[in-house]
Subunit: 475 residues, 2 copies
């Protein structure tokens, strides 16, 4: 560290107290790498402010000193956005973990105000205690924090019903790149007074400011949930089945499409998990119906829809969870899959979405394109059929290392991305851009949209303080 | 008109064809005033492009010539945003009425692509023909157009359940202030590739660009709807009743709070409408429950909630609509109210929202403040209790003209706005800013938010082509 930077870090330490300004290499180590070990970058210091005023003062001091600020939450993101960019300007990691108060829960208002450092699951629990539901849910919810959830506009298994994180926000408190605080934590549901500034920060991955707190929308607690595990002959059949359920008016809160190879990996690497159906079908579906009112006959609605689907050939076999334990077992198969997949060897991962009705064509084109170029790889597809967000991976043959497979088949992500875009889709559905998808952003993002984003970044953060090197590829 | 402008208008006429470039005073007259006759402004010409390419060419030509562009749709807005600002630069009105194709309806995908000039009701009908629901609904839906609905982020009676117009948008096509076309009509439900540009144009009232088409979200068609007209002792009781219904898990799709004076006006000026309940209660509520699945026992859910509410004293009398005709009669009372109110004499109108739980305090404070300053006026409150968006008016005593009442009691809007803001609310809930609320924007909008909005406007429209003098008060 150069001397001038040492003195700047001392200023920050004085501001926050030395306990909350980490500079020892071993203290900073967890913040210098993402959780998958893919992205690394050394911060000058790790700042842990405890109040929005401290965040404001720290950001202002960094801006003044020409130090970049990389906001970090639970650091469960998949694109490296919370790690310092190597080769960029000197930077601190600003961890929001100490801003972890739930400031308010208002059951009558169906709202909750939480600080950025609250773990998502704690917010879910606080809502449940008030007899309400905070509906977003995904695998990392036990570690992910509200600030990261909002900055990445997180998705997950229930966006089909309640949308992405963006849709659950009533108001935000944001520290701007110059340290000023935009306080818009109002819990009001209707506000048409000018531009919707909060939507700029949601999903911006900390490149326009630091989200320090949010007023969040709650929904009525669920009283009935029914889950089915189904064998389906094809993605097209799965989509017809989903359309049938949605069209029937049943409240579908999740619909996951699972390729047989995924269950084969579960069978091999998770022998403690019992598969609900024999491995005889090319595709499977997990579908969940729910109701907030106990008088809604969800079980009967599910059974009658499945009966019609069986008759129509959209589904060939079905098991319904008979109790909560069985329901959890179904979900463990889905939620633990990423771990089993990792055990099954390296994979090129993607995160695309297409319009729901285009999912069958998307999968057919991807399968053909991958097989033509990498016949030794195996396509692995699993994901949120109800949103058109199927995660397709290309699995290495046995014995090939991660590095070797990345070198040989790394281009598979662009093959998948290009097919998604050709079908009117997105190359980053729910994970964001961070650093891992800058090359895709450069290649496939609409040029005019990119130009506008750069202009907005330049306007709101002219000195480039906030999370440089993320989201927007250099022009 | 100066000569140079004449020649510029000739250029536009050549571009669009003379039939689609109106310049005769009598042809332009309807576009030179808003529908309430409050706001007037003379355009150089009224342009009626028929394709997005023509919109693009017209906007580019105007930008080049230094002529401002005022986009207009069904012109049912309440804030004067679609009328040329007197005293501003020379301007044309750009009417989107000929861009009125529904480009696509995809039932399986629950989506629809409509051009800006489509009347909202036609989009509702196209969705219904596909067995789906386009859920937004408000009084002017038979005249209002999609472009205006999106540019004002329209609300209405169902935002409680499906949100404002913003929440129903999957993608947009926008002509930017320099004429370039931002084409993001993808119907994809998940896209985390950079900043959410579409949210800048939604609700911007045409100040950042011209929305020419939108990919819209549809929802399952409703199979069961039950509507009740209730007498309630107070706003607090109304809110408890609403909380009870929402908390029960019933799907509440509308909850309107109506002060007795409103029904008195209906009784006086709409003798053809039968009031469902005697005029003995200070407040009334219209509540509507629905379900998309026919097996949901909506009627029983409503009856059991009302029984409990009657027992708890949250409601003192109740009538349920026994059939669709009766349901329509209930709604006519609510929807025709603005007309009866107009017949009952001039009023100072407001459009505030507060957090739902603050509605009772809001109404109590407003009533006291208005009575203290204008004891001769009468408070009139009616609105969307489920969103905290109660429209409060201050009615003139008999015999006072509109002009005289505006002069004497015009400041009532600020009294109401300030109380709403003090309670964490909004001074423009669903109508927008246009020109009518520029003074409120200047006085009450957060200064930092206003500064950011101005910076964004300057970045995206540096020449000030798009709808100058609207939304943002001069700095």
């Amino acid at each position: 560290m150069r001397n001038v930077e040492t003195s700047q870090v001392e200023t920050l330490a004085a501001l926050l107290g030395p306990r909350h300004c980490l500079t020892a290499a071993e203290d900073m180590a967890p913040y210098a790498v993402d959780w998958r070990g893919t992205w690394r970058g050394q911060p000058l210091a790790v700042l842990k402010p405890g109040t929005v005023e401290e965040v404001s003062a720290a950001v202002a001091a960094c801006a003044e000193a020409g130090i970049a600020v990389v906001p970090a939450g639970g650091r469960t993101g998949l694109c490296g956005a919370a790690v310092v960019s190597p080769g960029g300007p000197p930077a601190v990691v600003l961890s929001l973990e100490r801003l972890n108060r739930i400031r308010d829960v208002d059951a009558r208002d169906f709202s909750l105000v939480a600080e950025a450092g609250c773990v998502v699951q704690r917010v879910q629990e606080a809502a449940a205690e008030a007899g309400r539901l905070f509906p977003i849910a995904w695998g990392a919810q036990g570690s992910a924090q509200i600030g990261g959830m909002l900055s990445t506009n997180a998705g997950g298994i229930r966006t089909l019903r309640w949308g992405n994180a963006r849709e659950l926000v009533l108001g935000l408190e944001v520290v701007l790149p110059d340290g000023r605080v935009l306080n818009d934590l109002r819990r009001v549901r209707k506000d048409n007074s000018g531009y919707a500034l909060r939507h700029l920060f949601l999903g911006a991955e900390g490149t326009l400011g630091v989200i320090t707190a949010a007023a969040l929308r709650l929904v009525p607690a669920l009283q009935r949930v029914e889950t089915a595990f189904l064998a389906v002959p094809s993605p097209d059949a799965a989509l017809s089945l989903l359309g049938r359920m949605l069209g029937s008016g049943a409240e579908v809160i999740a619909c996951e499409l699972i390729q047989r190879i995924c269950l084969e990996m579960v069978a091999e690497h998770g022998p403690h998990l019992r598969l609900p159906l024999p491995l005889e079908s090319p595709w499977y579906v997990m579908v969940e119906l729910a109701a907030a009112h106990p008088a809604v006959p969800v079980r009967a609605m599910l059974e009658s829809a499945l009966e019609a689907a069986l008759e129509a050939g959209e589904c060939t076999d079905a098991v319904l969870a008979e109790n909560e334990a069985q329901r959890r077992d179904f979900w463990r198969i889905r939620e633990d899959f990423p771990e089993f997949s990792r055990m099954a060897g390296p994979s090129i991962a993607t995160d695309t979405a297409v319009p729901v009705s285009a999912v069958p064509e998307f999968l057919a084109r991807v399968e053909a394109a991958l097989a033509a170029r990498w016949p030794e790889g195996r396509m692995v597809a699993i994901g949120h059929a109800g949103d058109g967000n199927i995660h397709v991976g290309l699995k290495a043959p046995p014995g090939v290392t991660r590095e070797a497979w990345a070198a040989r088949a790394g281009a598979a992500d662009m093959v998948v991305n290009e097919i998604a875009m050709a079908l009117g889709g997105s190359f980053s559905a729910e994970h964001g851009i961070g650093v891992s998808k800058l090359h895709v952003m450069r290649a496939l993002k609409d040029k005019l949209a990119l130009e506008m984003m750069r202009a907005i970044k330049q306007t709101l953060d002219p000195r480039g303080v906030m999370n440089p090197g993320k989201v927007l590829p250099e022009g």
